[in-house]
Symmetry: C2
Subunit: 176 residues, 2 copies
C-alpha cells in the first residue's frame, strides 16, 4: 500500500501562480510527445485523492482526465456533477482516516494530489513516494508545494529522468 | 561575464534549518569521493561574492576553503581576520553596483553565495546560471534559497547529474 505524490513545480517550489494559474506549465514544449510517465503512474494506482481546489481546477479544464476513481477531500462539497456520477466521490476526515477508509475498500495505492492535500498528508508522514518534476522557471511567488513539518523527513532518491532537455523528474521514496 | 549560483537545497528549498544548521548536508555519504563539480566551478570563476552570514558561517568552519578572492557584501563588517588578509575584501552597494565594480577590476565570472545575497541578485535579474543540488530530505522549514520576484524568470535546463544515487544536481542558464 502506497501513497504517491506526482506533481510539477517551478524551481522555487510553486505549483501555481498566486492567481492559481498553471499556464507556465502548459507552455512547456513537448516535442517528444511524452506523457512524462503519467500512464505508468495511472497503471499502478487504484484511486486518486485530491482537495476541493484541485477538483474545481480540473473541472474547469472541461474534459475529465481520470479513468481511476477520484475521491475529493471535502466536507463542504455535496453534489457531484451529473457527468461524473460513479467517477467521483467525496471523502472526509484526516489523511490517515481517509487512507484507512480507502484501503479498507480495496484501494491500496493512492495518488495524492493538490497542494493543501499533499501538505496535510506529508504533515502526517504518510506519503511513501514523491515524484517531482522541476520546470525551469522561477515564479517568485504563488502556491507552494511544500509546507511546514514538525520534523524533517528523509527520502531515498530512486531515479531521475530528463524530458526533452527541459523537465527534470525525480522519484523519491520515504526512508523510515 | 557570468554570475553563477552553486548551492545545495533540501527538496523543499531550504539551504539551512531555522537555527542555521547544515548538518543534514554534511551527513550525506560520499562513497565516490566526488567533489560534486566544485573544482570545475572554481576553475571557471574569478571571485566569490557572499553575504555576511555566509562569511561568518564559513569562518566558523575553521579552515578557509577558498583559493579565489572573496568579496563579502557588508557595510557593517570592517575588520578582516589577520589570517585572511589579501584573501577577503569587503564590498558595498546593490548587486548591480558590486558586479560593475568587480567586472571593472577584471573579475568577470563571479560565484554568488548565501541565501540573502542570491535572492538580492535574483531580484535584480543578474544571475546567469544556477547550479542547484537537491538533497533528498524535506526540512519543513528554515532558511529558503529563493525569495519573491516582481516577475517570473525563465531558465534553460543545461544538464542534470546524479551523484551516488543520492544528490540530483541540475544546471540552469537564464533565458533572456
Amino acid at each position: 500500500m502506497k501513497n504517491i505524490v506526482y506533481i510539477a513545480t517551478s524551481l522555487d517550489g510553486y505549483i501555481a501562480t498566486s492567481d492559481g494559474s498553471v499556464d507556465w506549465l502548459h507552455e512547456i514544449p513537448n516535442p517528444s510527445g511524452s506523457d512524462y510517465g503519467w500512464s505508468e503512474l495511472m497503471g499502478r494506482i487504484d484511486a486518486i485523492v485530491m482537495g476541493r481546489n484541485t477538483f474545481e481546477t480540473v473541472l474547469s479544464f472541461g474534459q475529465w482526465p481520470y479513468e481511476k476513481p477520484v475521491f475529493v477531500a471535502s466536507s463542504s462539497l455535496k453534489e457531484i456533477p451529473a457527468h461524473l456520477e460513479g467517477k467521483v466521490r467525496f471523502i472526509e476526515g484526516t489523511p490517515s482516516e481517509m487512507v484507512s477508509e480507502l484501503n479498507g475498500q480495496g484501494y491500496e495505492n493512492l495518488y495524492i494530489d493538490g497542494g493543501d492535500t499533499i501538505r496535510r498528508f506529508l504533515a502526517e508522514d504518510i506519503i511513501d513516494e514523491i515524484v517531482v518534476t522541476r520546470v525551469p522557471i522561477l515564479l517568485g511567488g504563488g502556491h507552494p508545494l511544500f509546507g511546514s513539518l514538525t520534523e524533517p523527513l528523509k527520502f531515498r532518491h530512486a531515479k531521475t529522468e530528463v524530458f526533452d532537455d527541459i523537465l527534470v523528474k525525480s522519484t523519491y521514496l520515504r526512508e523510515r
